[in-house]
């Protein structure tokens, strides 16, 4: 059998078992953020700030789920690149669709 890959290889990652304690911290953080999101929705913020706050907190929650629950922080460079590529493509989807509508058909409904 071939040996374990060299540490610089993009598909290599150090065997790292995340501790249950860290999982509990992340889980608690997620619950706290949920409470903050619900609380913030009852406060009248100027302009579009309510949506920005809600989505901002949701993005933070998603980030810590991806990094810690899904182990991406401890994964190989290949995995990290794959996740980043997915995020990029999703942004392209949203951005291109929204600019298409915003520049042409906005208000004509």
């Amino acid at each position: 059998m071939a040996e374990t890959k060299h540490i610089d290889e993009p598909t290599h990652h150090e065997e790292h078992i995340v501790s249950p304690g860290l999982y509990m911290i992340i889980g608690s953080l997620l619950l706290i953020c949920t409470a903050i999101t619900v609380g913030a929705s009852y406060i009248d913020l100027p302009g579009d700030l309510n949506a920005v706050v809600a989505l901002g907190i949701a993005c933070f929650k998603a980030t810590i789920v991806v990094l810690f629950f899904m182990h991406v922080k401890y994964s190989s460079r290949l995995t990290k690149l794959t996740v980043a590529a997915g995020f990029f493509t999703f942004i392209v989807l949203i951005m291109m669709t929204m600019t298409d509508y915003a520049s042409r058909a906005w208000g004509r409904w």
């Binding site: 059998m1 071939a2 040996e3 374990t4 890959k5 598909t11 290599h12 990652h13 078992i17 995340v18 249950p20 999982y23 509990m24 992340i26 889980g27 997620l30 619950l31 949920t34 999101t37 619900v38 929705s41 009852y42 406060i43 009248d44 309510n50 809600a54 989505l55 907190i57 949701a58 929650k61 998603a62 789920v65 991806v66 810690f68 629950f69 899904m70 182990h71 994964s75 190989s76 290949l78 995995t79 794959t82 996740v83 590529a85 997915g86 995020f87 493509t89 999703f90 989807l93 949203i94 669709t97 929204m98 509508y101 409904w109």
Partner: protein, 246 residues
């Protein structure tokens, strides 16, 4: 060795020349490569899922901008308590799933089975609450295409008197509820598939699988489960929390 000699090997004689764990498939060089490949494949699948849900989110973004009053009125018809409860349930299930992966990594059969069962239980709680919410929508005539009535929006009861809409905007609440059922329904379908796969995993774990170093199936199912949780993390504020202060 010619092909006949290779084919004539038995299970006992075949692996004398190359010792390896029984779960290592022969088209992989070693366990690390197999594990990395499986994770890569699962992430590629999740990327397709991101784009799939992304399309629905995009439609939601545009229609919310176009028909904002209708979306506000529609959102007020949902129960914040049940939505928050479901969010907490899914976060807890993500924690139990992460603990199941941990149990597999430290090769503890009893812990693995316990955490997998806990995840199944929480998933079923989520689905039960969702079913109750759907039933309430049916009773209140808020299901587009089935029994939809705009009466709750053109002539709201005193609890919702701030949600009075003109008739043409009241019709647009159908757009909100269509998106509600499409997005939460697709999410619930993913939950059902997840719970079914979990059942298979826990049965195999009961038989002794996944605690001998073969972590990949539990790990990669965990990726799927966390992804479904992330979708809900975005669905909840977008559907339930549109301007609760108004």
């Amino acid at each position: 060795m010619d092909s006949h000699t290779v084919a004539a090997q038995t299970a006992e004689t075949a692996h004398v020349d190359h010792e390896h764990p029984p779960y290592l498939r022969h088209h992989f060089v070693n366990v690390e490569q197999q594990r990395e490949t499986a994770t890569f494949g699962m992430w590629l699948f999740l990327l397709t899922e991101i784009m799939f849900f992304g399309g629905l989110f995009c439609a939601y973004l545009i229609y919310r901008n176009w028909y904002y009053p209708a979306f506000v009125a529609g959102s007020h018809q949902l129960s914040i308590f049940l939505g928050t409860l479901n969010t907490a349930v899914l976060i807890a299930s993500s924690f139990t799933m992460a603990m199941a992966v941990h149990s597999s990594e430290v090769r503890s059969r009893k812990a693995l089975i316990t955490w997998l069962l806990a995840t199944i239980f929480l998933g079923c709680v989520f689905l039960g609450v969702k079913a109750d919410e759907y039933h309430e929508k049916w009773e209140k005539h808020h299901v587009p295409g089935l029994n939809f009535s705009t009466a709750d929006f053109t002539h709201p009861s005193k609890d919702y008197k701030d949600d009075k809409l003109a008739p043409d905007m009241a019709e647009k609440t159908q757009v909100y509820f269509s998106l509600y059922f499409a997005m939460t329904g697709m999410h619930a379908l993913h939950m059902i598939i997840g719970v079914s796969l979990l059942t298979i995993l826990v049965i195999r774990a009961w038989g002794g699988a996944y605690v001998n170093g073969h972590v990949a199936p539990i790990e990669n199912f965990g990726l799927y489960w966390h992804f479904v949780d992330i979708v809900w993390i975005f669905l909840f504020p977008l559907l339930y929390l549109i301007s609760r202060h108004q």
